[in-house]
Amino acid sequence: MTEYNFAYLDEATKRMIRRALLKAVAIPGYQVPFSSREMPMPYGWGTGGVQVTAACLVPEDSLKVIDQGADDTTNAVSIRSFFEKVAGVATTESTADASVIQTRHRIPEAPLVAGQILVFQVPIPEPLRFLEPRETETRTMHALEDYGLMQVRLYEDIARHGEIARAYAYPVKVEGRYVMDPSPIPKFDNPKLNMSPALQLFGAGRECRIYALPPFTRVESLDFEDYPFTPSKAAGHDCAICGAQDSYLDEVITDDSGGRMFVCSDTDYCATRAAQMEANA
């Protein structure tokens, strides 16, 4: 065997994933089971996202892959080169130039536009899993729209900590019906899920689930009237490279005496801003 099919997966597998994707789009926020395949990278390393991307790609696509917001993290580099090899698609680091973006743990800072597809890699798709380990139980909770346990847990957080103590993978409610795990994005990114013009697809390979947010879908972060949701990021800092005040920041330790600096986690956003500053200077 020397030649793999376009985008690696065989056609029967792609049809199966494509059918699951259409049902996922038709039932926003609901996790559609799909018969995830073993991929040539380990479970937990983006196999769900890779399968969704492979099922969506056309040769004319321009693909961007980010991990932690960055195009140059090792796993992003690895997945990008996989698709260069098996699908022959063009790749880009520019959010604006990408037609398909596969991401792990971030939504790009630059607003997405109509026609773009954002594919999330998802480790644990079940938002209720941290409350109840059994699939048989959580499936029933979704069916009955019984999210009382989640409300109780979030309220316990408030009682103990004075706020909902979840910083990432902050659960959302989609179109007033399904509670959904947005993947481990920081809650700073949650507002970007809501009414996005882009199509957002979520793939969890090991857990065999696909779900979706069609464009212009209502996505609310769970909260309470007296404890409203607040997105958060490193307080009181600007990006040390581009000076951005509105981007999500990585903290970098610079020396062994407590020195640290903050830089944009979205490398394309940061580089674009830095280049503009240089051009304007």
Partner: protein
């Protein structure tokens, strides 16, 4: 000024080159051939075939070589290859009663038609290092029986004749396929056995052991353990007949477990079942014990909450490609979610007045 680390692609390429070199080891030592692995590390090859769920000793040997002897990595290579193969159809059930027996023992009967055949077993070897092997001593041919080994009926069929062993329903109809449909609960026995057959040997061994120690105890005897070659055939509807296309070695274990009868059902033994590619009796026995433990509910036994009785727990965690992938993924960057957590903890500490504490207390 700070500059983000670049060069991921080159770092990866260099790491892979180093891996290649490390795999080869000292070039003054002759390179290992996959034929040597296949012939001389055959139980490792068998395990890779079993958990990779692909019967191909050549490929399994190659995977072991490529994986530097790491079994799970080799299983992963085989699984990732297997998933790209086209599927032409399903085989007919293999007739293990017609197995060309290499090894066959029963712990429940001293003798039975077909006899006890020890075969190539470690069982009664004294575990003393054989330093002669290091020096490449001669291996004389083993004595052969005058007549070739015959196939033999299953020992538990003798119990079945007396009605002492619960009969298993014929597996007619479509068999569920774990690799084509996502796992769903409750999982029927055929699906459970499928998952166990490709499950991690160590995981199943520990679970089986836990039942022996009382976590879902089910009093197992090894009714029969047999290892040998069986023929595999398929029905070709276009041609209207069956065609034999392979011969594979299997290990099969049937355990005999006690079962309290009820008012409506007289006392009867029940069975646990294990079937594994290649010679892998530790796995086959473990599988039989876990299979039996997972039948607790359908047999109306006390569910003691033992892990081995919990199908959702066992089936969700027995696959070592899933578990090792997810376990090892936590070494990938998590800067973003860690940063989010860091900010949250700082905020909660500020709110609690902890920022007044000296830095050294952190």
């Amino acid at each position: 000024m700070y500059v983000a680390v670049k060069g991921g692609a080159r770092a990866i390429a260099n790491a892979h080159a180093w891996l290649d070199e490390a795999r080869r080891g000292d070039r003054d030592v002759p390179e290992l051939g996959t034929d040597q692995i296949r012939e001389q590390l055959s139980l490792a090859v068998d395990r890779v075939m079993a958990e990779g769920s692909l019967y191909d000793p050549e490929l399994a040997a190659l995977a072991l070589k490529q994986a530097r002897g790491d079994t799970i990595e080799a299983v992963f290579l085989i699984r990732a290859f297997r998933t790209t193969l086209p599927r032409f159809g399903g085989s007919l059930p293999v007739a293990t009663a017609d197995m060309q027996i290499k090894r066959r023992i029963s712990a429940t009967y001293k003798d039975a038609p077909g006899g006890q055949v020890l075969g190539p077993t470690f069982d009664y070897t004294h575990r003393l290092l054989d330093f002669g092997l290091a020096e490449g001593r001669d291996v004389p041919p083993a004595p052969m029986a005058e007549t070739g080994l015959e196939s033999a009926p299953h020992i538990l069929s003798h119990l079945g004749g007396e009605g002492l062993m619960q009969a298993e329903p014929d597996g007619a109809g479509a068999v569920p396929d774990l690799t084509r449909d996502p796992l769903e609960f409750p999982a029927e026995r055929a699906l459970r056995l499928q998952a166990l057959a490709r499950g991690d040997e160590g995981f199943l061994l520990s679970l089986a052991y836990s039942t022996q120690r009382g976590y879902g105890r089910n009093h197992a005897f090894v009714g029969e353990l047999r290892i040998g070659a069986v023929r595999v055939s398929a029905h070709l509807p276009e041609l209207g007949f069956d065609i034999e296309f392979a011969e594979i070695v299997l290990t099969e274990c049937e355990s005999v477990n006690q079962f309290q009868g009820s008012k409506t059902a007289p006392a009867q033994f029940t069975r646990g079942y294990g079937l594994v590619f290649g010679q892998s009796e530790r796995k086959a026995i473990s599988m039989a014990l876990v299979d039996r433990a997972l039948r607790a509910q359908e047999l109306g036994e006390d569910m003691s909450g033992a892990p081995a009785q919990d199908a959702e727990f066992v089936l969700s965690h027995c696959d070592n490609i899933q578990s090792s992938g997810f376990l090892e993924h936590i070494k990938l960057p998590h800067y973003v979610d860690f940063q989010a957590e860091l900010e949250l903890v700082r905020k909660l500490r500020r709110a609690a007045g902890a920022d007044a504490l000296p830095e050294a207390a952190e």
